[in-house]
Amino acid sequence: MRLTVKLPAVVVGAIILTAVAGSVLSILIGRSVLRQATLDDNTHNAELYASAVRFYVASARSVLATTAELPQLRTLAGPREVATLVLAHSDVFEYVTLLAPDGTVIMQEPRALEERLSHRDLSFSAWFGEVRRTNRTVVSDLHISPATQRPTIVIATPVHAADGRTVGIWTGALKLGELSEIGSLAVGRSALGESGFVTDRRGLIIAHQTRPNYVVSQTDFSAVPSVSAALAGREGSGENFNPIEHEWKLAAYRPLPDLGWAVVYSGPTAIALASLDTLTRSIVWASVAMAALIGTGVFFSTQRTIAPITRLTIAAHTVGTGDFSQRLEVPSRDEIGRLAEEFNRMASTLAEKDAQVRRRAAELARSNAELAQFAYVASHDLQEPLRMVVGFVQLLEKRLADKLDADTREFMGFAVDGALRMQNLIEDILAYSRVGTRGKPLARVDSAEALKDALALLASRIAETGAEVDAQLLPLVMADRTQLVQLFQNLIGNAIKFCKDHAPRVRVQAVHEAGRWRFSVTDNGIGIAPEFRGHLFVIFKRLHTRREYPGTGIGLAICKRIIERHGGEIGIESAPDGGSVFWFTLPEENST
């Protein structure tokens, strides 16, 4: 990845990572704090609500208890009078009823409701039984009122005559709407969806600040953990799942032990902690903005930092392709500036070296051309005068054949011989110089084939001397084929030549060494004393007279030049049986 992308990515990544870690931490802490604060609030509100409910029910009870003592009731002389009084002066009852001890309705106020009574015998009601049994004031569970056909809660108290006989049951139906309302009056409505509700001892909703329909439909909240806890007499707070409303709630609950009721004040966790979401969102957006801002900043500053490096890369590439004129501005004194400086220095040095190399190459080309010219001159211009000498001396010899004495003839022979030898030497020098100037590029060559060619060129001499040449398996090598043939020809030619009385035996072998092949040509000839070996490969060096062994002494010098051109080595050792071993090395076939 490019540095201009990598650096900002790392920075942005770091910021986002920090932001994520920060927001996770703040959410966790904030959540715990907010949760606790909400629970504390709810606890406080539940307390208030519970007190209000307790007070409401207590006042309703006291209204009934007080009026039950009135003579109009005890004598059953004017119950409706009392009922009107109760409804007029206290706002807790929806209606009041006086029952006979057997459970039948004596009267109900307001009268309009009495007329709508579905039945007048209420003896089957649970609360009636309880009052009769205990002879005390009873608060009923939630049930459907026979008068209003709506859920209601009834407070019932026995009415005693002067002699202590129970003459009736005095009841009032609570205004459940008021019970819901007092919650709101006591607590106030919360913006966070919190509300209080009250259940009877079975867990049915009898008052709900925000959901009056729960009362109407007698919804059962006994399965709600906070309700069941309160019904079991415990008070407390916590987060729990409301299976009726299918959401998590932060709830505080209080039991009303006298009534067996539960008061709960709760709100959805999600809403309570919603402000945290806002906070989180703010943090995330802020960090995204910050990351974008800083990322952009880093991107541009990186680019400014990188730009010289990019220029350097391009310049280095240009230099790499051989244009050494490339130079860089050095805009700053920092590390990059120094790098640019060093680059410029390097480019200058390279340019100098390049110019040097070019100069040398030109010199070399010129000297090669001169050498080629020399070779040509040697082959043509030097030979022409020699031919004149030889030609005319021989012509003289021919024309004056009968007039020449033996001395003259011998002298003329020396002159011709000298000129002919001179010509041989010129040709040898030419051959020697051509090893360098006429060499072909090294290529894959089967050395066995090259040896075969060399032996073909030597065929007549091999036949004359009865020489035996045997070669083992020979490898593929990197070589100039023509020169390899010449090399074999010279070495094997020597091996055959320098063999006195017996038939020459020559063996050619090759062994593999690190990255190259080591060839050896072993003969059974006259051998070479170690003290003479040093000069053996020098041009025109001879160890014998021409009368003993003819030749100019160029063969091994040419061999050495060929091997050197191939990057190899050549040398001589003694063969075990007195002959010589000429060895040389050539690069193996797959090397370049």
């Binding site: 040509y376 043509h380 030889v390 030609g391 005319f392 021989q394 012509l395 002919l420 010509q423």
Partner: protein, 149 residues
């Protein structure tokens, strides 16, 4: 039949050779071979072309049946002469024998590229030289059939 004909037939040879010694040796060799040819010697390429085109002092020069051409010549060298001859519709049928000291491969190749009819290297030894001149004579005068004039 052939030898009889050859005896009666005299052919014209143009020898282009700057070295008088060489020219003389060639003439001597031809004399040794007892050839009854007429040999005309010119010393450089310019003269050779003038001779062939009968220009200047060669206004009445005969058309040669064979050209013996040295390669290294003053003024216009043998390669240029060869190229001009072989490019000239009138002259290109005249056989050109390159007779030179050079044994250089590039000279040989170049000469044949320029449509030399053959390339002969002059040997140093007189006997061999004479043998070769005799062979050239024998071949080009008696063996081959040359185009009519």
């Amino acid at each position: 039949m052939n030898s009889m004909e050859s005896n009666t037939r005299s052919i014209e040879i143009l020898l282009v050779e700057d070295n008088p010694g060489d020219a003389r040796l060639t003439l001597e060799a031809m004399r040794e071979a007892k050839m009854s040819n007429r040999i005309h010697v010119v010393e450089d390429g310019v003269e050779a072309m003038e001779f062939l085109r009968r220009q200047g002092r060669f206004g009445d020069a005969p058309r040669p049946d064979l050209i013996l051409l040295d390669l290294n010549l003053p003024r216009k060298d043998g390669r240029e002469v060869l190229a001009e001859v072989k490019a000239d519709p009138d002259l290109k049928r005249i056989p050109v024998v390159v007779l030179t000291t050079s044994r250089a491969e590039e000279d040989v190749v170049r000469a044949y590229d320029l449509h030399a009819n053959c390339y002969v290297t002059k040997p140093v030894d007189l006997e061999q030289f004479m043998k070769i001149v005799a062979l050239i004579d024998e071949f080009w005068v008696n063996v081959v059939t040359l185009p009519g004039k």
